[in-house]
């Protein structure tokens, strides 16, 4: 009974954070800021949903699978964010116009000096 209530509470918290991640995906200005929203909040959101399953069914086959999925998400989502942002920067996707500093761009230009237009988007 208590576990059921706890499971529902965790599920609502998780879903709320997933909702916030989607809101952030729509509202934030460029690809890097959007990745902030989706990786961090998405991790806790998915974790909440999986934890809720675990609390509801206990350590049965489904519960153990949910726990495994949660741990895999925790390990893989930063790697996915790193690959997406790196690929985006290498491909020339600029930072949003509020950006104040880009030391990675400078380091890339120093490593392979090619004439390149301003990377900050208008």
């Amino acid at each position: 009974m208590i576990l059921d209530i706890l499971s529902n509470i965790v599920l609502v918290i998780g879903l709320f954070f997933v909702f916030l991640a989607m809101l952030g995906l729509a509202r934030l200005p460029d690809v890097y800021n959007r990745l902030h929203a989706t990786t961090k909040i998405g991790t806790l959101g998915a974790f909440g949903v999986m934890l809720s399953i675990l609390l509801k069914v206990g350590f049965s086959a489904m519960g153990v699978k949910a726990l495994t999925v949660a741990l895999f998400i925790l390990v893989t989502s930063p790697v996915a964010a790193h690959m997406i942002s790196r690929a985006a920067h290498r491909h020339g996707v600029g930072l949003c116009k509020e950006s104040v500093i880009d030391e990675y761009g400078k380091a890339c230009d120093a490593a392979c000096p090619v004439p390149k237009e301003d990377t900050i988007q208008e």
């Binding site: 509202r27 200005p29 990745l35 806790l44 104040v100």
Partner: protein, 164 residues
Amino acid sequence: MKRYFAYSAILALVWCFVHGTVSINNFIVGLIIAPFVIRPFKTLYPFNLDFSFSNAVKKIPAQIKYLYVLVVEIIKANIMVAKIVLQPKIDIKPGIIAVPIDSKTDIGITAIANTITLTPGTLTIDVSEDRQVLYVHAIDATDPEGVAQSIKDDLEKYTMEAFE
């Protein structure tokens, strides 16, 4: 050969968890399949590293402490991003900054990079060729030295203890 068996046992345990029931049958099936997974990706597994069991056990308290710090930081990160997203007008000053790191080993750099991504306001983009600098995207990049200092003091201390 011994190394092969050790990695196979770990993968077999993972297979048990993915299947959902930890039983001797599943473990043996995992043990049979595991070498076919390890062989093509042999470079990813540290085969020529000397490994001591007592050393690994000694690191467990540091790793538990690191997990605790990680959970606290993840919750803080979520609340911070939630605040930014729910503001009526989004007012941020993002940027990419270079953060020097002390970690030397592959696993140490991976751990610090993933930890940075899961903690408030920062996202790892790349590691430099000489593996001494991480390029980190920060939501609030008005104070680059402050961000670098906080990463060094709050996070790298724990990952160095736990994984190096």
